[in-house]
Symmetry: C2
Subunit: 167 residues, 2 copies
């Protein structure tokens, strides 16, 4: 396999993978493109490479910047702006985990906590509801805590130990 084929395959695979996890195709593909590009790219470059419109490129670049995994940089002597992505996969996953937790997990956890607090009227359906939503709350909360701790901070001794044991 040669470079061009491999590159296209990466961009497409990443796009498809993103789609399965609730990220739109163009966004994932722009990220993929920047991720493997040795140099920053202009909006023009991206539009051409991925065959997408200016508006699409603009909107998804902004979204990627809001996720904290793509940066806009100025190149001296150039009028237009250039974009580059987070190249360190550890930092990349840290950032994604952080954002998904903040945007999606935490709001859900808040609701679970709230609704699992209805007064127990003694009926079977209420009892089951409280039991199950509490269990779901605990699960989500534990997952969120672990996710944040593992990916947020610098790897501490326990994480290192764990990684060694799991490798």
């Amino acid at each position: 396999m040669e470079f061009k084929e491999a590159k296209d395959k990466f961009i497409n695979t990443w796009g498809a993978f993103g789609t399965l996890w609730g990220i739109n195709k163009a966004m994932a593909q722009i990220h993929a493109l920047l991720f493997i590009s040795p140099d920053p790219l202009s909006m023009e470059d991206i539009m051409e490479e991925l065959d997408i419109s200016r508006g699409n490129a603009s909107m998804n670049l902004r979204a990627l910047m809001e996720w904290g995994i793509v940066y806009k940089i100025g190149v001296t002597g150039e009028r237009k702006e250039f974009f580059t992505s987070e190249k360190d996969v550890t930092e990349l996953s840290r950032q994604i985990a952080k954002e998904r937790s903040r945007r999606e997990l935490q709001p859900t956890i808040r609701v679970l906590k709230e609704i699992s607090n209805i007064t127990d009227d003694g009926t079977a359906k209420t009892k089951e509801f409280i039991k199950q939503t509490k269990a779901m709350y605990d699960l989500a909360d534990t997952a969120d805590t672990m996710m944040n701790r593992i990916v947020n901070q610098e790897q501490n001794w326990i994480t290192k130990t764990l990684v060694k044991l799991f490798k």
Copy 2:
């Protein structure tokens, strides 16, 4: 808040959460409904409760069964079939992690491995491509391994220890 309101809130929240993670609304809502129901429900019950068509209910129930988190059961004396969900959240997350790994992560990992193996022609773009896709492969592979080990097997001492430390 009373039961009915809390119940609707749970079903809707779960549906919205699922959507963000690539699971369709009806599927997530059916799961939510079964998850809090003390008794198994018939297709009729589900259709009525969620106000969806027979076809929709049928297809999503099948999908949930394929994910291994909803079961079809026969009730003696009843002609129609009843459905119930996995009630244990540990088993639920184990199953979801297992399936997402199998269906989505592993195929992606396979591609990453393949494409990061192109021959290095010495150009900067090829070098960067190989470096970055290898890094992504390592990340995905480690994540997959950890995910599977943590959620797949019975909690062993290290996991227990970890959970304690993280709580």
